[in-house]
Symmetry: C2
Subunit: 228 residues, 2 copies
Amino acid sequence: MATNPRRPERRQEPLSRERIISAAVELLDTVGEGGLTFRALAKHLATGPGAIYWHVTGRTELLGAAIDSVVATTIAAVDDADATPQEAIRALALGVFDAMDAHPWVGTQLTHAPSHSPMLRVFERIGRQIQALRVPEAAQFTAASALMSYILGVAGQNAANTRTLRPDTDRTEFLDSVATAWKELDPDEYAFTRNVAGQLREHDDREEFLAGIDLILTGIIALQRPTG
Amino acid sequence: MATNPRRPERRQEPLSRERIISAAVELLDTVGEGGLTFRALAKHLATGPGAIYWHVTGRTELLGAAIDSVVATTIAAVDDADATPQEAIRALALGVFDAMDAHPWVGTQLTHAPSHSPMLRVFERIGRQIQALRVPEAAQFTAASALMSYILGVAGQNAANTRTLRPDTDRTEFLDSVATAWKELDPDEYAFTRNVAGQLREHDDREEFLAGIDLILTGIIALQRPTG
DNA sequence: ACCTGAACACCGTTCAAGT
DNA sequence: ACCTGAACACCGTTCAAGT
């Protein structure tokens, strides 16, 4: 018998940085940030924890590489060839939003990444559209940064929410529970919050996110220098 | 000799939730997020790690209480009695910004806090100004959320930066090094980023932050319903 | 009621030893 | 060159035992 039909541990390919990172992404998606352990990852790759260190310097770099790979793929997939600058920015922002939605840990790690390289990719693509919007040079950095910060903020909050959530509760159920909690706040101290609790219940995360982008875009367009 | 002039361990007051939290804030400020250990905290309070659990359910709650106390104090100190809505929002945002500056860990933990209560305080105060700006009811939630997300995004980035920084490097030195790194990026892939690298060098964090707030405020004011 | 600190079940990371 | 896995130096958290 030359080949064993069911090897219990298949060590298909040799270990590689690439395989490690994609296994890390898988683990992050399934068990969350806390579940990404060198021991768990090693088991997943049918090896010992030490082996990983040959390809990766440590946990920080591993997390960084994981987001980088996810964001890079997402950003590359956004097609803004025939779009107006505004449309392109919305498409880009939505791309990041959907990536966070699929991988909630991206939201937290986006800011934590020491390389900053995933953020830099987004920043560059936003910036090009800012230029296309004829924003004066001196204000271009501000405009692109504002959009970037907003996107990061939403990412962080979304990640925080999914982290708080029981894995089985769905969106509307969650929003309902928050809205109910808000309605029970002290009427004097939290008058506004109580008042908008209803809007929270019927809100769509993606639309709300885009509405925020549009607010900033309105502000940016007000900076526009004349054509010609 | 009734009193010992130099008691080596002074256990002034009994342990209390309050003392634990303020010791936690002190530790976070001095040794950072990673340095806040139950063992270190216990030593600081001249007790054992187990004692802390009598007053606090665990590390998550402790961190939450720590930001809550810092943000609550900051927010309470912001006086917006005689300000226009725009001025009040700027003052509020700057308050949070300065709190983050003094306590870099706040930036990260603001989103992580499970109670969300520090964010809720800010949200409420922003919201009241949004109402004063005569934003239509249906858009009030969006407007307040956008400002909130932006503030959180900047907070997160700031925290990430100070975390990356060697404790001794100062602001301008850091900005210079980032600007230099940006100038060395691939000219085709990062044309925009290279282009604004100069603006990064001469930028003021606080002003940049406020400029972003103003962009969003411009967008919000465009939503304004007519007076009367 | 509150505190103590040893003990438990984990971590990330290192490193001698293997192939 | 690459992998192995025991070992080290930590964690947060628990809990019997003390006051």
